[in-house]
């Protein structure tokens, strides 16, 4: 597509290959967990449904009374801000908190979180402490939280985890751009997959075809992903240093718009139910987050956020006087009036998460995320296959097979621990982490002990398929809803995710068991056998 000098093409090819092979295994993990995280809310609803008729709205009538009742139970110092949002299975969370610097010296939040059943507004659970501790104590959202944490920061503590995933996003951008530039016959080879030929050629085509079709979204996902990781770790500190003497809170307050004039006089909070109803009318969308700042004071502000209204790609929030309930303004993501900067940031969310149009957009994003994982894996397999004469690259090939096919197995097995220890005191993240690492260790032993790489691939794929088949059974065996119960309760996520696991399991088993296509030429077969013998 681009006719570049040969020297440049060689350099770009080296950059493309080395960026992929050095960071590919970690990048593959981020992409795989990202694919699963697209359906995080559905996974949470599947894992931890409330056993009652699903409410059609996240914030139904009675929320206001619950907020006032529970506000009396918490220390008034935590009335600085109240966050109200939906969680797994339709639960509603109320987080009364204040902004402080944590013992590690970083800006954080400390307070009390109540987990409520919106059908009765009864408290299911209460958690206290720093936000990080509160997050670890959450059980209902444990399955998706584990996946999302692995995707966002590879379970590495902040800020290092975000820096690593940010660097991986940059590497993916470099790989996408260099891949575009080095592929001379991009359009001509769009439909060319030579499956019956030389194995190296087959792998090359598999990688190139997947990469070509996935190119636009690879770039978008890499760009938005690296933005999300690097904005808080690099961008905000740098800009805060230049413009606000290092005060990041001041930067965030500027981006949020001018604060209200302070007035510490006591005042009743305006009715939240009425504010939510007004937001629904204004936005034609369902509110999914409410924030009350300075609860119980005359300078209180209530802000509501909604799902994206139809055909809108940039979110807005709705700001109300917290004492009178009067609507003040519609606020863009940053600042008080629309701007290019705010719109660009707002666009990042739907482009990265793919959740703007519900299941339809999520399904497309999962397909493209799967393609991105496929591109990463086939790229590493191609690289190591081309260098299989060298023992170091043969070991790398084994590592690629181990991570490529072992990671999904470990991810699928983690929720088994969640279900088994659901009613125990063990934190959901801890139990799943141990299960994940244990399965990864067993898979490592299998990877070392299985001589033939194709046999290793089949074993890991088959194990993943079997694990997926068992998950719905494990869920039901540990007290989860059956399909009839779910149907009566109007909880569609339970059978939907169960069926998705069964379909995925059958796909894994079919791929593992199907006869590997043999090359039609004798030389290619001889070469494959020689390669297998070398890896045994």
């Amino acid at each position: 597509m681009f006719k570049l000098p040969q020297r440049d093409t060689k350099t770009l090819l080296a950059i493309h290959g080395w960026s992929g092979v050095l960071l590919g295994l970690l990048l593959y993990a981020v992409i795989c967990t990202g694919v699963a995280a697209v359906f995080a809310s559905e996974i949470n609803d599947w894992a931890s449904p409330l056993k009652r008729q699903q409410a059609s709205a996240a914030f139904g009538p009675g929320l206001d009374a619950a907020v006032r009742r529970l506000a009396k139970q918490v220390d008034p110092q935590f009335h600085e801000e109240v966050a109200i949002y939906g969680s797994a299975g339709g639960r509603v969370m109320l987080l009364y908190h204040r902004h402080e610097t944590n013992p590690a010296g970083k800006p954080s939040e400390r307070g009390v979180e109540f987990e409520l059943d919106p059908a009765t507004w009864q408290t299911i659970a209460t958690r206290t402490g720093w936000l990080e501790d509160i997050a670890e104590q959450r059980r209902a959202s444990g399955v998706a939280d584990f996946l999302v944490n692995l995707h966002v920061r590879l379970h590495i503590p902040d800020p290092y985890g975000l820096l690593v995933t940010g660097a991986l996003g940059l590497a993916m951008m470099v790989a996408a751009v260099t891949g575009l530039l080095i592929h001379r016959h991009l359009i001509a080879e769009l439909f060319t997959l030579r499956l019956g030929r030389d194995p190296v050629l087959r792998r090359r085509d598999l990688h190139v075809v997947a990469g070509t079709w996935n190119l636009p979204f690879a770039f978008v996902l890499a760009f938005t992903g690296s933005f999300f990781s690097l904005a808080s770790t690099v961008g905000i500190p740098a800009v805060a240093m230049v413009k606000f003497g290092g005060d990041q809170e001041a930067l965030i307050e500027t981006l949020s718009g001018p604060p209200r004039t302070e007035n510490k006089q006591a005042a009743m909070l305006a009715n939240i139910d009425a504010i939510i109803a007004d937001t629904r009318t204004r936005s034609h969308a369902e509110p999914n987050f409410v924030s009350v700042s300075q609860y119980g004071r005359a300078d209180a502000i209530t802000s509501t956020f909604t799902d994206l209204p139809d055909d809108t790609l940039v979110y807005s929030s709705y700001v109300y006087d917290g004492t009178t309930g009067a609507f003040l303004r519609t606020q863009p993501p940053f600042g008080t009036t629309p701007s290019i900067g705010a719109s660009l940031v707002g666009l990042m969310y739907p482009l990265h998460f793919g959740n703007f149009a519900g299941a339809a957009s999520k399904a497309v994003w999962v397909a493209l995320g799967f393609a991105a994982a496929y591109v990463t894996l086939t790229g590493m397999l191609l690289w190591t296959r081309r260098r299989e004469e060298q023992s170091a690259w043969r070991r790398m090939a084994r590592a690629v097979h181990y991570v490529g096919y072992g990671l999904p197995l470990a991810l699928v097995c983690a929720p088994y621990a969640f279900f088994a220890l659901r009613d125990s005191k063990v934190e959901a993240g801890t139990s799943q982490g141990i299960a994940f690492l244990a399965v990864a260790a067993v898979a490592a032993v299998v990877a070392v002990g299985t001589g033939n790489l194709d046999r290793l691939r089949r074993r890991l794929l088959a194990s993943t398929g079997i694990a997926m088949l068992g998950l719905p059974l494990m869920r039901m065996a540990t007290g989860g809803l059956g399909w009839m119960e779910s149907y009566r309760a109007g909880i569609g996520a339970v059978p939907a995710v169960d069926i998705a696991f069964v379909v995925a399991a059958l796909a894994c088993l079919w791929t593992a068991l199907r006869h590997q296509h043999q090359p039609s030429k004798g030389t290619a077969r001889a070469r494959t056998n020689t390669t297998d013998a070398q890896t045994t």
Binding site: F191, T192, A357, S361, A371
Partner: protein
């Protein structure tokens, strides 16, 4: 949104399938055609270019009528379906060669 994106995706998917089926490089790599003399008639270069541009028309229409959700779904679905189409066409050709 849904009807617009479904129609747009359908139109582009059909055009992609036609383009893929008549792709000259893909056809050249089908060894069975060489052996049996049977061949899928190719399209002229001009026709292929026209169809290629027509694939993009539904997306352009969606942006003109401000259907941004449908546009993003169309774009993603075209990329995914194009990949799947390539695999299906190659698998079919490989199966033919094997028999």
């Amino acid at each position: 949104m849904m009807p617009a994106s479904v129609i747009a995706v359908l139109i582009s998917a059909i055009l992609l399938a036609i383009l893929g089926r008549h792709d000259p490089k893909r056809l050249r790599n089908r060894s069975r055609e060489v052996a049996t003399g049977m061949s899928t008639p190719g399209l002229t270069r001009g026709m292929r270019r026209l169809l290629g541009w027509l694939v993009l028309v539904p997306g352009v229409v969606l942006t003109v009528i401000d259907q941004w959700w449908a546009f993003l779904i169309w774009m993603g679905a075209c990329c995914a379906l194009g990949w799947v189409t390539t695999h299906l066409l190659s698998s079919a050709a490989t199966a033919e060669n094997a028999t």
